[in-house]
Symmetry: C2
Subunit: 98 residues, 2 copies
């Protein structure tokens, strides 16, 4: 677990917002055709933020590098899911260690 990378990833309101949306995909991305169990398509995340695709793509890459989300490629699209195990381990360490 790269604690520095996780804190850097969380030090941005857009990235925290994306993580929160991914917590309740059925609430925030109910329009997705693919089953939400496979994650949320980057295209829908782009649209929901209202930011450019390249900006959101960079945010998602930061979250992925920090290990906070898992990805799955389907055709041309990438689907994103929270890595609940990593998030839980990070919170546990922070609650103990901070």
């Amino acid at each position: 677990m790269d604690i520095d990378a996780i804190h850097k990833a969380l030090a941005n309101p857009v990235r925290r917002q994306i993580l929160q949306w991914l917590k309740e995909p059925q609430h925030h991305f109910s329009e997705q055709d693919h089953p939400l169990e496979m994650g949320v398509c980057c295209k829908l995340i782009d649209q929901k933020t209202g930011l450019s695709q390249s900006t959101v793509s960079a945010h998602l890459a930061t979250l992925q590098r920090a290990g906070l989300v898992n990805t799955r490629r389907v055709g041309q699209w990438i689907f994103f899911q929270r890595n609940e195990e990593a998030i839980h381990a990070f919170l546990a360490q922070l609650n103990d260690g901070l």
Copy 2:
């Protein structure tokens, strides 16, 4: 509470280490002449890190700007204490919101 600033401050192992030392000043800074209740003198924190004074000074300023430590000036020295209230509020928000 500036969540971005707090995460940025925590995204560094030296700053996290300093916060941990300040959690148990009687254990880590027992050699201090002044009462530990007034905080820990920046000079002792410098020495304990083994880093240059200017580097540690920058780390402490980052922690202070994020609101994670409180300071008190006594003569030429600055004494540092954890801001337990802010740390607690940050953890509560993270546990709820992440």
